[in-house]
């Protein structure tokens, strides 16, 4: 994705920003899956990204699965029809959702007309923001309850009614919400490109 021609343009254009956001989701999802132990740790290998090492799965099936999802998310982002992505971690046996990693996707209001007036956000700054989110995801392990049961995950996309949904690939589903009384929510950092603004949040089941 990072082409040699003017990397700063990535953040300006919708396409570039979409790719950036999609890529972020890939690494964020991988980080969560690793940190929360959804997949065994030795499925992951270290990759240099955003100026730090990120653990990325090398399980082919999972890789393909994420790719398929992200490809569609990418399309939705381009049309602006996805408003939220949720990675839910569900107990394998009881099927109750234990954690919901919520990423709100907001379109940044473009000043109509002379958009050139606003200085483009430097790529380095965006990367720093992304890095901070990923670091925060890693650090959440310190307060999230220890999961000692086998888990699975599910990725939910909140789209607008008018979204173009590929038939029989994406299906309407339950939001896998955690009961309000048992849910704790922690807001994480956010990052923004010139087009998108991503706000991260984690909700987890806490029966305390």
């Amino acid at each position: 994705m990072p082409t040699k021609q003017a990397p700063t343009r990535q953040a300006i254009t919708l396409k570039g920003s979409t790719n950036l956001v999609t890529e972020f989701f890939k690494y964020a999802a991988n980080t969560i899956l690793f940190q929360r132990g959804v997949y065994p740790a030795d499925d992951f290998h270290m990759v240099k990204k955003y100026g730090q090492t990120v653990l990325v799965t090398q399980d082919l099936a999972l890789e393909n699965y994420l790719d398929k999802i992200l490809k569609q998310v990418n399309k939705w982002l381009l049309t602006g029809s996805v408003t939220q992505l949720v990675l839910a971690i569900i107990s394998k046996d009881s099927r109750t959702s234990l954690e919901r990693w919520v990423f709100d996707i907001n379109l940044v209001e473009q000043p109509s007309g002379e958009s050139e007036a606003a200085p483009a956000k430097p790529e380095a700054e965006i990367q720093a923001e992304i890095r901070n989110i990923l670091k925060q995801i890693v650090s959440t392990v310190t307060f999230l309850p220890v999961i000692d049961e086998p888990t699975v995950f599910n990725i939910l996309a909140y789209t607008s009614e008018s979204a173009d949904v590929p038939a029989d690939e994406w299906v309407d589903t339950d939001p896998l919400a955690i009961e309000a009384g048992k849910s704790q929510q922690v807001k994480l950092r956010s990052f923004s490109t010139d087009v998108h603004r991503i706000e991260a949040m984690v909700a987890y089941r806490y029966d305390g």
Partner: protein, 550 residues
């Protein structure tokens, strides 16, 4: 709407314990009217139901009990969309909940009236109702639909939003159960202290680290060397001769001259399972896979005698003066007096599994043995006191190891110390005080312990290890700190080691068919220590002069 549940309540209470009134369902309906965009879908949903149950509206009107529905109907008659919305909702309810039992019950008193149902809580959300609700972006499972709708309206969240997920579930984590099992087995290998993949083939120095050469001084090719944990195929005599068994042949390598001599062969169809030099270095005991123990003259390279009797392979041998002790795969330990015709002078029964480690203490008082039954035994070394064939019991038995104990070694400078090391699933070195039987120290290591050698000059001992580190490690005693480590000393697990007569060089053998000589320890005062040994009775600073004169 509060009056809604009252009207049908008398009837409903009598026939069902579920008292959830009509409110939610109608709330849903009304919410859908107010919040959802008037969609054709509602109409289209309504029609099939109406078609499938044409009687229901008629029944409802006939009953006349539900005022609201009638009023709604009146309202609905003004607009097609409204009519479709409400009626579809009600029809869905009707169609959904038709338990045959209750129908039978009702059929007596109220024959055709109440097949319709308003109990939303009891219906299956996975049914086609769910599809209708999904169209409204309401979730029937997480909360009551009415609540969701009201909440949505209150918070200003657009209801026309869809929650989508990919149609197939994410792939299971370890799809291959065999792989998962293999991981499970491999985990202990890597989850051990010191098993960090940080330093490969470099000498890591601990706090009190000391640099040792990570390169062997000399490498000898040993083709045909058997990669078997339970055998003991390398011995180094005090005359500086290395005896090594390669499959069925025994070779002697003179360290002084580098000369190689083939000593002999195992009997046809068998193999050498152990070699051990006598303490004076003149004789070589050879254990054979058939169970025979051979005695060879290292000087003339002739076989002096064969002592048979064991039922299976003799995997370890140890000498004390004229007594050659052999450990057998059946768990028995025999003492052979090599001087007499009836060579078997003692039998020690204490192991359930194969005896794989056997060492006499240098003074002959104690004999240590380790077995495949994870047991370390220490035996009284006195032989003549009991009649031949008497089964003597071990002086003490230790079962702390959790894997085969192959590595046993007596400390040369503190006679009561015995070190023993366990196999793959144990990988721990225990140091015992053999006088009291106490366990003095324990040292977990990264991988299986295949042999232990104490340094004669330093308060250190060396361990050799198998997969995955294939390492030679040097530890301090009694701090048990790691002094040095040579990772991947061999390409395959390091199986055997023997220390040279000077106490500085150690030879290791491994399944990669190499013998490697490592200078582990320096002997800074070789002359002095040798002389002090020789002049053990004398004292004084001039003893070296005296010796030289003599």
């Amino acid at each position: 709407m509060s009056y809604l549940p009252k009207t049908p309540s008398t009837r409903h209470r009598s026939r069902s314990e579920a008292k959830t009134p009509l409110t939610p369902s109608l709330a849903v309906g009304l919410n859908s009217l107010s919040l959802a965009t008037p969609s054709k879908a509602d109409v289209s949903f309504a029609n099939p139901f109406a078609a499938s149950r044409p009687s229901s509206p008629a029944k409802r009107s006939a009953s006349g009990s539900i005022q609201v529905s009638e009023s709604l109907q009146r309202q609905a008659s003004t607009g097609v969309i409204r009519k479709g919305g409400v009626e579809s909702r009600l029809d869905v309810v009707t169609r959904d909940y038709v338990p045959p039992k209750s129908e039978k019950k009702r059929s007596k008193s109220q024959p055709s009236r109440d097949t319709r149902d308003r109990f939303i809580t009891t219906r299956d959300p996975a049914d086609d109702v769910a599809a209708t609700l999904d169209l409204m972006s309401l979730n029937p499972q997480s909360a009551s639909p009415g609540h969701t709708a009201r909440l949505a309206a209150a918070t200003g969240v657009p209801l026309n939003r869809r929650v989508l997920s990919y149609h197939e579930p994410p792939p299971p984590s370890a799809s291959d159960p065999l792989l998962a099992q293999a991981r499970e087995y491999a985990r202990p290998l890597y989850a051990r202290p010191g098993a960090l993949p940080t330093s490969t083939s470099t000498a890591t120095t601990g706090a009190k680290g000391r640099k040792i050469s990570t390169q062997p001084e000399r490498v000898l090719d040993a083709p045909g060397m058997v990669d078997d944990f339970y055998l003991n195929l390398v011995s180094w005599s005090c005359l500086n001769i290395v005896g090594v068994a390669l499959a069925e042949n025994t070779y002697l390598w003179r360290a002084d001259s580098g000369e190689v001599v083939q000593l002999g062969e195992a009997p046809e169809g068998s193999y050498i399972s152990s070699v051990e030099f006598s303490n004076d270095g003149l004789f070589l005991g050879v254990g054979v896979g058939t169970g025979a123990v051979e005695l060879w003259d290292a000087e003339s390279q002739t076989k002096l005698r064969t002592m048979s009797g064991h039922s299976s392979q003799v995997a370890c041998l140890s000498w004390y003066q004229h007594i050659l002790t052999s450990g057998c795969a059946d768990g028995s330990i025999w003492h052979h007096d090599v001087r007499v015709a009836r060579h078997k002078v003692g039998e020690l029964i204490g192991h359930q599994g194969e005896v794989c480690g056997l060492k006499w203490r240098s003074d002959g008082e104690l004999l240590a043995s380790g077995g495949n039954d994870n047991v370390v035994n220490v035996w009284d070394g006195r032989i003549g006191d009991v009649a031949p064939g008497t089964r003597s019991a071990a002086r003490w038995t230790k079962r702390n190891h959790t894997a085969a104990v192959k590595a046993v070694a007596w400390c040369p400078w503190q006679p009561s110390l015995l070190a023993s090391g366990g196999g793959t699933s144990d990988a721990t070195v225990h140091i015992w005080n053999t006088t009291t039987g106490a366990r003095l120290h324990s040292l977990p290591t990264p991988s299986q312990v295949t042999s232990i050698q104490w340094s004669p000059h330093k308060k250190e001992f060396m361990t050799t290890h198998g997969y995955p580190t294939n390492a030679i490690m040097v530890h301090a005693y009694p701090s048990m700190e790691r002094v040095a480590e040579i990772r991947d000393a061999h390409d395959s697990r390091v199986l055997w080691s023997a220390i040279g007569p000077a106490g500085d060089v150690v030879v290791t053998g491994a399944g990669d068919e190499n013998l490697k000589f490592w200078r582990i320890w320096e002997v800074p005062k070789v002359r002095k220590s040798k002389e002090s040994k020789d002049s053990s009775g004398r004292t004084g600073s001039t003893k070296s002069d005296i010796l030289r004169i003599r």
